[in-house]
């Protein structure tokens, strides 16, 4: 929607200066915590205790990163973040795929296969987005126990899928609403069945919103701590639980550089997803998730 400018050169210049100035100033604000974290993780512990937290490292060292990944102690296990990082991956990927897939089918049904009360159903599903999760910890734990999934990664996948459905259905439904009904009706007449239409027509057209849904779900689930700490134990914990243990060390000399390095390691997957796929996120939102 970028507009053309007719005004004189001077106000144009001031305009550009203002724009760039504001953007850069704001960028500094947004980058500041990242700087603090990265700078601290690259300093040696002595330097941190001697000086401030915000300055540039005198001598850049990666020992904190190495320690965080492979040898930091989480409780009595001193294998670093690596095993928990793997746990998170093993947990997040199925959860994202499942919740997005189910959301896609739900969105498809709710928009192309109208039945009486479809909107009510959608409203009911949507309300799940707004549930305070602390309230469901105990009853969910009971259910997981009955299902025999307590303390396991599949159990955590199930929990995240259930609570992800609300959001993914919202995304897909709002997107599929913009796909003309004529397309699917025509396919129906040509003899295509329910699933055929889904896989051959809806999904290929839904690429932008699939990306949005996956990015959102990935971030939410990867960064989750509450469910992770409640529904897993010991070896099956995700990386956020391990990170919490590392940064919550209350005794002894707090290893700030290892804390920050651990935080960075835990943050890298979501950062990568956002930086790499960020433009698809905006594109996906443009393509229809935003409309009403």
């Amino acid at each position: 929607m970028a507009t053309d400018r007719q005004p004189g050169r001077r106000s144009h210049m001031i305009g550009r200066v203002f724009i760039y100035g504001s953007l850069l100033g704001l960028a500094a604000f947004y980058l500041m915590p990242l700087w603090v974290m990265v700078a601290t993780s690259l300093k040696s512990l002595d330097e941190i205790y001697a000086g401030s937290f915000i300055g540039v490292p005198e001598k850049v060292t990666f020992e904190a990163w190495v320690k965080a990944w492979g040898t930091a102690c989480i409780g009595t296990k001193c294998d670093g973040l690596k095993p928990y990082f793997v746990n998170s991956l093993v947990m997040v990927i199925p959860a994202v795929v499942l919740s997005s897939g189910i959301g896609a089918i739900n969105g498809y049904v709710l928009t192309k296969w109208r039945f009486k009360g479809a909107n009510v159903v959608f409203g009911l599903l949507l309300f799940g987005c707004f549930l305070p999760f602390q309230a469901v910890l105990l009853p969910m734990a009971q259910i997981l126990g009955w299902l025999g999934l307590a303390g396991t990664i599949p159990g955590l996948v199930l929990v995240h899928t259930v609570y992800g459905i609300a959001f993914t259905t919202l995304f897909f439904r709002n997107y599929f609403v913009t796909i003309p009904d004529e397309l699917t009706k025509a396919a129906q007449i040509d003899g295509a069945g329910f699933f055929r239409i889904f896989f051959s027509i809806m999904l290929p057209a839904a690429l932008p919103i699939i990306v949005v849904s996956c990015i959102w779900q990935f971030t939410q689930i990867w960064n989750d701590f509450l469910f992770g700490v409640s529904f897993t134990a010991g070896d099956s914990s995700p990386v956020t639980v391990a990170l919490n243990n590392i940064v919550n060390v209350t005794m002894g000399r707090k290893q700030y550089n290892v804390d920050m390095a651990s935080a960075m390691i835990a943050a890298i997957p979501t950062l990568v997803v956002y930086v790499v796929a960020g433009r698809y996120f905006v594109r996906g939102l443009t393509a229809g998730a935003v409309k009403g």
Partner: protein, 322 residues
């Protein structure tokens, strides 16, 4: 195609609709039709069951507990409104509710204003738009367990911004909000705005990009200035985006649990207590599960009061409109 042996291929679509097949086919087709008719509902049912249990059943569970005398473990007896009375006589809860209002108002207003501002700026054919966009968006990717410590240092007067500015020469500069009970909540606002602006910006940017250029050109031809165009034409056309942003930011605000715990642990004192942290500490730290459940029900009712009208208006439009 006419007259050839083999399966009769319909000449056009209407023929299928008009003609039936034989009786056998009719039976087969009616079962298939039945299945097809029910298939959508069948496909939806796992989600419905999951949400029914995971959301609505658990809400009932919480409601039951809020009417019980549960302390450390759930007990399903009935004590009427006792826990609610207790809840509202607890000063910390009142503080939490006040904080929620203050926080939500400020958080929504600032994030929307800032997000819209950045989106408009970025839309001006700026170089390195991709890089800048990534810079504003990345905070959303991080969890507060990750950034909480960094923010605590930045806001701490003897370690962070105040110290840096003082060292640079401005001795009189004071920025110790996080230490003052009356101002600590604003620090929570700052950190929350930092995390969510990118998201609002992305939605607004998408909305801006969806606006037709011709409308703008027409207004320009009529002699309207840029500011006027923005205020009277563009911003109103972003209404759907505003609604989405408000809903999503409200969701983030009510959920703000990690953020408060990591940044201030509801302190100093209980100055930054929020309903979500109150509920957690009542249930898990203070052995007052009944009170915790009552607070959760209050949170739910507030959310319902806001969301249900919004949903109703949205879905009603859709039924007619689409």
């Amino acid at each position: 195609m006419d007259g050839l042996p083999g399966p009769r291929v319909p000449a056009d679509r209407t023929e299928i609709l008009a003609n039936g097949h034989g009786d056998q086919m009719r039976k087969h087709r009616s079962f298939k039709a039945l299945l097809t008719a029910q298939l959508p509902k069948l496909v939806l049912s796992p989600s419905l069951i999951a949400v029914f249990v995971g959301v609505y059943l658990f809400i009932c569970w919480t409601a039951a507990i809020s009417f019980s005398s549960s302390k450390m473990v759930p007990k399903f007896d009935f004590v009427g409104l006792e826990q609610y009375v207790r809840l509202w006589s607890t000063p910390r809860w009142i503080t939490a509710v006040e904080n929620l209002f203050v926080f939500t108002m400020l958080f929504l207003a600032i994030t929307i204003a800032l997000g819209l501002f950045i989106a408009i700026l970025l839309d001006q054919r700026v170089r390195a738009e991709g890089v800048l966009r990534a810079i504003y968006l990345y905070p959303m990717a991080l969890s507060f367990i990750v950034t909480g410590t960094a923010w605590k240092w930045i806001l701490n007067p003897s370690l962070g911004v105040q110290k840096v500015v003082n060292d640079l020469g401005w001795q009189g500069f004071v920025f110790d909000w996080i230490t003052r009970p009356e101002f600590a909540i604003y620090c929570v606002v700052i950190a929350a705005v930092w995390q969510s602006t990118g998201f609002a910006m992305a939605i607004f940017l998408a909305g801006l990009r969806g606006i037709d250029n011709s409308i703008i050109k027409a207004a320009q031809i009529e002699g309207a200035g840029m500011a006027r165009i923005y205020l009277s034409i563009i911003v109103p056309m972003l209404r759907p985006a505003f609604l989405s942003v408000i809903v999503l930011l409200s969701y983030i605000s009510i959920k703000s649990f990690d953020l408060v715990l990591a940044l201030t642990n509801a302190g100093p004192g209980s100055a930054t207590e929020m309903p979500s942290t109150f509920m957690f500490s009542a249930t898990f730290r203070r052995n007052q599960m009944g009170v915790g459940a009552a607070s959760a029900m209050m949170m739910l009712m507030t959310v319902a009061a806001i969301i249900i009208p919004y949903l109703y208006s949205e879905l009603k439009e859709d039924r007619d409109g689409h």
